[in-house]
């Protein structure tokens, strides 16, 4: 199989003498850093930690569902597990996954800046994330919470004795970490682009992060409001959501989904940015229809704010408002379709190679297409009545979030690993991991579409025995998937010491981040770059490399 990897001669290659990794030493130099790259690494370690906690819970959930009875754990324990799985995976992994790690590392470099606009706010954002994470763990250790990640009132306000307040505070605090990241990105992208870096020369990764940042800044405060109202209702009984006091329990649904629907775009848009970079690099071509892909991100961000009621079609909302929201839901599906087709068309007449990031990107395209199309099932009003609140929704959501976003995250981590660490990951093993993840994923979540259409409700600790076969398949898939996620964890750690030295531009990619040393200097650029070429200009890159001697170190 051919490859575009161009590594320096490993006999003589050395890592750069000075880089952001060795500019300072000691724990304090990391914990008080203002460097966006170090903060990105801090984030990467913390979200990986929470990912494996959330993943362990998913494993236990699947194990319980192996049999129709509640035999492994009590129903209450099961309820706590899926609640904590949802809270950890969504608020502590998916929302910060790509933006706070890869985005934090790359956005300043991609626009040609030395750092984000507000380095200290960036550090504060990580500390808020850690406080949020600690509170979540505190809620978990002190006995857990069983509201479901959606905190549905009045269940969460009047009927449960678990640690709702701790968990609510955790999400409230973690939400601010996300707001600060978004704010930092918006200001950086607007104000700190290098000379010549116009909006339409920005990599699509930056465009998708810009769109996601707008959602973070405008959507997250509404979640904060909803959570504060839940906490006030629980503590002093203000009654906003309590029908006995004239409140409206549906109001909570509106407030919650006003954030939580845009939140899925916060999660997926940065992943789409990764895919644009990877597909372009490994097919040696400019992304097909750059402008369409850029504006489709913005369109998703705009339409994404006006579809929240599609989570409430069966909740007794007016039939006519359901009509409007269903129409808008159909419209928001179109930009995603455009992206999928444009990525496919990018391959046309390319010169394609199949390194690990590309395999993960192919996995993304396949799984996200299924996830997106099943979203159309759910957006269609009459169909939604039967499908909502069943395993069909679980499968759809996991196809988009795990099949889509996690694939994109792993694609991005592999793609930029040489830039972040200066070393390559082992190619053979990582291809195996990509394949195992893909197979495990399909086996885990595809049966859930079928069992969902058969009517199996979500969040059931016990289920009618006729659904067992499909659940067994799903559990079997989950164990394969678990292996697929453990592998990168192991070999990426291994590669920190034993990986091949990568050199500045192992993929022969065009982004500004590939034109500087790996790992980069703390200040990124020795002198401010002047951009005089379009994004994904491989001819420019060919001319540049022809005329210069590549040196490492």
């Amino acid at each position: 199989m051919s490859t575009i990897v161009s590594l320096p001669d490993q006999q003589t290659a050395t890592l750069p003498k000075r880089s952001y990794l060795n500019s300072e030493y000691g724990l304090k130099s990391w914990l008080l850093t203002g460097d966006h790259k170090r903060i990105a690494i801090l984030y990467l370690i913390s979200i990986t930690f929470f990912f494996f906690i959330g993943g362990a819970m998913a494993g236990l959930i699947r194990l319980e569902l192996l049999t129709p009875q509640t035999d492994l754990m009590a129903a209450d324990t099961y309820n706590k597990l899926f609640t904590m799985h949802g809270i950890i995976m969504i608020f502590l992994f998916l929302v910060p996954s790509v933006p706070a790690t890869i985005g934090n590392f790359l956005i300043p470099i991609m626009v040609g800046a030395k750092d984000l606009a507000f380095p200290k706010i960036n550090l504060l954002s990580w500390y808020l994330y850690i406080i949020g994470g600690t509170l979540t763990l505190a809620a978990l250790i002190s006995g857990g919470v069983d509201t479901g990640w959606t905190f549905t009132t009045p269940l969460s306000t009047h009927y449960l004795n678990t640690h709702v307040i701790t968990a609510g505070l955790a999400i409230f605090v973690a939400g601010f970490s996300s707001i600060f990241t978004g704010l930092n990105f918006i200001v950086t992208i607007h104000r700190m682009r290098a000379p010549g870096m116009t909006w339409f020369r920005l990599p699509l990764f930056v465009w998708s992060h810009y769109a996601a940042s707008i959602l973070m800044v405008l959507g997250t405060p509404v979640l904060a409001i909803a959570l504060v109202l839940v906490l006030l209702e629980r503590t002093i009984g203000i009654g906003v959501f309590d029908p006995a006091k004239g409140g409206d329990p549906l109001l909570f649904q509106h407030l919650f989904w006003f954030y939580s629907h845009p939140a899925v775009y916060i999660m997926i848009l940065p992943g789409m940015g990764v895919i644009s970079e990877v597909i372009s690099t490994f097919s040696r071509k400019r992304v097909f229809g750059y402008t369409a892909v850029a504006f489709s991100s913005v369109a998703i961000a705009v339409f994404g704010f006006f579809v929240w009621e599609h989570h409430m079609f069966v909740m007794g909302v007016s039939n006519y408002s359901a009509l409007v929201f269903s129409l808008l839901t159909m419209l928001v599906a179109v930009p995603s379709a455009i992206k999928i087709f444009n990525w496919s068309a990018t391959l046309y007449k390319g010169s394609i190679t199949f390194e690990t990031p590309m395999l993960y990107a192919f996995g993304f395209i396949g799984l996200f297409t299924i996830g997106g199309l099943t979203g159309v099932f759910l957006g269609s009003l009459g169909m939604d009545i039967h499908l909502t609140e069943t395993y069909f929704i679980v499968a759809h959501f996991h196809f988009v979030m795990v099949g889509g976003m996690l694939m994109a995250f792993l694609s991005g981590v592999h793609f930029w690993w040489p830039k972040m660490t200066g070393r390559m990951y082992p190619e053979g093993l990582s291809k195996l991991a990509a394949l195992v993840t893909f197979i495990g994923f399909i086996l885990t979540f595809f049966p859930q579409f079928i069992v969902g259409y058969l009517g199996m409700p979500r969040r059931y600790a016990a289920y009618p025995p006729e659904f067992q076969v499909l659940n067994v398949l799903s559990t079997a898939g989950a164990s394969v998937l678990g292996v697929g996620y453990l592998l990168p964890m192991l070999y990426l750690t291994w590669s920190l010491k034993y990986g091949k030295i990568a050199g500045a531009n192992p993929w022969q990619a065009t982004g500004l981040e590939w034109q500087i040393q790996s790992p980069p200097l703390t200040e990124n650029f020795l002198e401010t770059p002047i951009v005089d070429y379009e994004a994904y200009d491989y001819e420019w890159l060919a001319n540049k490399t022809k005329n210069e001697v590549t040196t490492v170190g």
């Binding site: 129903a75 009927y159 400019r286 229809g289 750059y290 999928i340 009459g382 609140e389 006729e466």
Partner: protein, 379 residues
């Protein structure tokens, strides 16, 4: 002899013989929902096939060995317009189709028979107008539209019958409705699909569809002896509602006879349509809708009547076509010699005491005379 474990063997055999991709189609709407489902699967398969063909095809045709040098292409407005408009058109077809179904599922026909459902942690209570009460089960006749008027006593629940392809959230503090027309007799799953706490997964039951004649037999055999409207009449009197809502010209409250499904003028100048929700709101939160020409003096009954009691009252008022029986009960109380106190509170208490002893009589006459009685029309 088994090469694999007998348990696994049995399991596999079971799977091969019972493998289902679709739940049974047991309602009139089910085949229509499935038709949309097949259409959606079809467009998904076509969409997937196109994407896979493009990605796989290009990966083979333009892999580096075959095509070492990439040709740069800017994009193509025509192509992009094509793959914007075609998906959009398909999504619009899906939208219209889905919307038509949605309105069909959530707009009950006017001739539907009504059954009340009360959800609570963690059981379903069904109340038939004829006074049949069920827990975690629901008996319905086939070939006849059935509307469910549902309310929750505590948290959000969701009433789902996969075989009928219907589902609706059951919400505290407001009525929601759903309807279906069962076609195939049999027993089907009933699930609560909204997470509602510890025993959410035990909040399940069975829907039994009976042939019309079997349903008649079941109805006759399972009645508790008092219809919902009769229970409602009893409550109406014991709560003292009749002292104000007597239908007299000088009464302090509006006349309730034939008020259901009418438009009543409100004190703020607007009109309100009287449905189940309006009646329920007016009992619990009387100042919400004050009828024109009446002072807002009615006290709230929040917390004093259970959801079942409210259903009884609503069912009673719904079928109240004249004030004859209300006035009759009032007159009876007025001729009682013990009626000393003339102030409201004492008088009310007297009515309460009296009616609790009087109602059984009226029920008996009711049962003998059934529809001949002008006051309450059963069902």
């Amino acid at each position: 002899m088994h090469f694999i474990s007998p348990v696994l063997w049995q399991f596999l055999v079971n799977w091969m013989t019972h493998f289902a991709l679709f739940p049974p189609e047991a309602s009139r709407i089910a085949p229509q929902v499935d038709a949309l489902y097949f259409f959606l699967i079809l467009i998904s398969l076509v969409g997937m096939a196109i994407v896979i063909a493009l990605v796989a095809g290009f990966s083979i045709l333009y892999r580096k060995e075959r095509n070492p040098e990439a040709t740069q292409i800017e994009g193509s407005t025509l192509l992009e317009a094509t793959w914007t408009i075609i998906p959009l058109a398909l999504f619009m077809v899906t939208f219209v189709w889905g919307a038509l179904l949605y309105f069909r599922i959530y707009d009950p026909p006017t001739n539907a028979m009504n059954i009340y459902i009360v959800g609570k942690q963690w059981m379903w209570k069904a109340e038939h107008p004829g006074g049949q009460h069920e827990i975690n089960s629901l008996h319905v006749p086939s070939g006849r539209p059935v509307q469910l008027t549902m309310i929750s006593q505590d948290v959000f629940h969701s009433f789902s019958i996969p075989a009928f392809r219907v589902k609706r959230e059951v919400i505290p503090g407001r009525y929601t409705t759903v309807w279906f027309e069962a076609t195939t007799p049999g027993t089907y799953h009933l699930f609560c699909t909204q997470y509602c706490g510890t025993l959410h997964s035990q909040m399940i039951g069975e829907v039994t569809v009976l042939k019309p004649e079997e349903y008649e037999a079941w109805t006759a055999g399972s009645t508790s002896g008092m219809s919902l409207a009769q229970n409602g009449e009893r409550l109406f009197a014991s709560l003292g509602c009749n002292s104000c809502h007597s239908g007299n010209a000088a009464a302090r409250g509006p006349n309730l006879a034939a008020v259901y499904s009418s438009r009543v003028p409100l004190a703020n100048g607007s009109y309100a349509f009287v449905d189940d929700a309006f009646l329920r709101d007016s009992i619990l939160n009387p100042t919400m809708h004050v009828t024109a020409g009446f002072a807002p003096i009615m006290p709230t009954y929040q917390g004093q009547i259970s959801e079942e009691g409210l259903i009884d009252l609503v069912e009673y008022i719904k079928h109240l076509h004249s004030n004859y029986r209300i006035q009759q009960t009032l007159n009876t109380s007025e001729v009682q010699p013990s009626n000393l106190g003339q102030n409201g509170i004492t008088a009310q208490r007297t009515y309460t005491d009296m009616h609790s002893s009087q109602v059984p009589q009226s029920v008996q006459t009711q049962r003998q005379g059934t529809a001949a009685q002008p006051g309450v029309v059963n069902q």
